[in-house]
Symmetry: C3
Amino acid sequence: VITFLSDYGLEDDFVGVCHGVMAMLCPRARVIHVTHGIARHDIRAGALILEAALPYLPVGVHLAVVDPGVGAERRAVALALADGRLLVGPDNGLLWLAAERAGVREAVDIAHSQFRLERVSSTFHGRDVFAPVAARLADGVALADAGEPFDPDRLVRLELPRPTVRRGEVVAHAVHIDRFGNVQLNVTHEHLPQLQLEHGQSVTLHAQAGKPQVARYVHTFADVAKDQLILYEDSYERLAVAANRGNAAAQLGLSVDDELRITAQ
Amino acid sequence: VITFLSDYGLEDDFVGVCHGVMAMLCPRARVIHVTHGIARHDIRAGALILEAALPYLPVGVHLAVVDPGVGAERRAVALALADGRLLVGPDNGLLWLAAERAGVREAVDIAHSQFRLERVSSTFHGRDVFAPVAARLADGVALADAGEPFDPDRLVRLELPRPTVRRGEVVAHAVHIDRFGNVQLNVTHEHLPQLQLEHGQSVTLHAQAGKPQVARYVHTFADVAKDQLILYEDSYERLAVAANRGNAAAQLGLSVDDELRITAQ
Amino acid sequence: VITFLSDYGLEDDFVGVCHGVMAMLCPRARVIHVTHGIARHDIRAGALILEAALPYLPVGVHLAVVDPGVGAERRAVALALADGRLLVGPDNGLLWLAAERAGVREAVDIAHSQFRLERVSSTFHGRDVFAPVAARLADGVALADAGEPFDPDRLVRLELPRPTVRRGEVVAHAVHIDRFGNVQLNVTHEHLPQLQLEHGQSVTLHAQAGKPQVARYVHTFADVAKDQLILYEDSYERLAVAANRGNAAAQLGLSVDDELRITAQ
């Protein structure tokens, strides 16, 4: 299995030709498209989604391409994780969260891999470098044959903003907004005991852009009336804000990276 | 084969992780994406498209998720149809048109299925309930093992507006508008003899929003000049309105559910 | 392998039901979606992308549908190319660039193919004619059994604008603009020696819509500062204009077919 995540979108043939290259080099590989809807060049969104999706994907080769620095100095890498997964992509932070969580056992630089296509363009390494290396790895070649080994400690890291959590108050940041306008915050399952919210409790949401709004801390959208705001633990065990059948991000004037202060009522 | 229809869109990883879950639980299943572009929460559009698409899909497990009530009271179900197909999805009307047409042989409530993922979120039953059950069914487990049996007569039904058809006049409703602006009406092949239109005949379209416009009753777009309106039997044998290389819905000011009166000239 | 390119988009079930039909008629075929994001009815964009993508796709059956004249006079065809590939689609120029490059060995008209679905609609030949024929070909039937032979010289051709290239100046046309706003020109690798540009050299871009702007002739986006324009050989070996992390088409006011004059400084 090869899984494939990118910011290529589906309007052009970028995804299709990468798929074609993989099908030529490893005909028996099955390709699962995680998403190609990452906002252009948004390395952090790609990193967050890759990390969150991995537990729901079969162990295999995980190709990820969000690559604003294509053709420039950034390293191209393939990583073997401690849990048996292989990651392939640019070394710009995109792979960091997934790699850090599982631990990296082995890292190779594939910029000059013998498995690249014969002609490597300067602007489409997804097709010319990453897809062919991913396909060969899926076909069973050893990671060591795919490139030059290097110290995993030298991988580019990704820094996320940190929340401030105390009893009844959290200063969080919007880290991801999905197509429904649901806003994922940088507050995980582990922070929740500290926050001491009770099911059904009302909270106040203070976004910088607008005036404070009330939400209820519940399990799911249908626990409140239409368009009402909820604070909930989302399906990735992160604290999130949504509006029942509405768009919470629009309602709160929240964009990715914005601060959101939440206080218990 | 598992076919998969939803309103998840492709911008996020919703579809990808459902696919991943299915690939983990039934590696040999092939997944065909019917569409994930159903408008958010539009149960009826999902139901119409599922019903219309089924005859063109291999018999298998048909997963459909448009689920505004996720995590709330609505039942989660798997159905065995009389034609051998298995449907999996929320019991909110989404499966009704397809189920009604073929007839339901057996129905089980899968809300607490043994095949659910270990941890079930309150907001993403596509991943945690529906996809795993669909995968197990595709893998050959018996429907009875997937949940609690219940009387198919208790399935949630979907009411569609009914057209009024008489010789030379029909009062119809727009039930679906595709990306080209072609407007599908709630008038099927069976109504046509009653209407007694002749090929090439002109008709007048009376939408509530705008002034009457002329269309011709023909077979295909290219039968008229650019931007001219046609009334035709579409590829699903439903009466529809289109504009040659144009957007009929915009031209007529029609939205889904709007009434459209058609009179022969 | 069947590859599939169209202007159907992914909002509706057009692609899904074509896939379903192919899966029914040739269960072992693997389908690779090249893209379904071709602009509606844009035969030329489809033809350019098909031609460019083919070298990166496994040899197989290549289904392409951009079909504004569906149901009208245009021929429906299947072609055997000299390189072993099979093309299936409407004969409206869409297949021409790919066919011309490889050379056509055999052509059949499939409008009345025995492999069509039993009921052929007037508006969805992708599902009723092209997909079933593609599936049967992938399943191994002979091209001659798929339709009526005709002289490949009678295929509809596609004329592209030609550039004027001389030392230090080229009058080009925008032939394709991708989702990032990168503008592909009708100037290929073979024209470059004539143009005599040197790496790093500055050029002036004269679009008809705006005032002249400076770009640098380099390898990749990151060779210049953010939002600066580059002239480069793109991943398909065509001359192209881009803006580092920006949208060159918007910046230059360029649309497809517009003329762009480039002069060396």
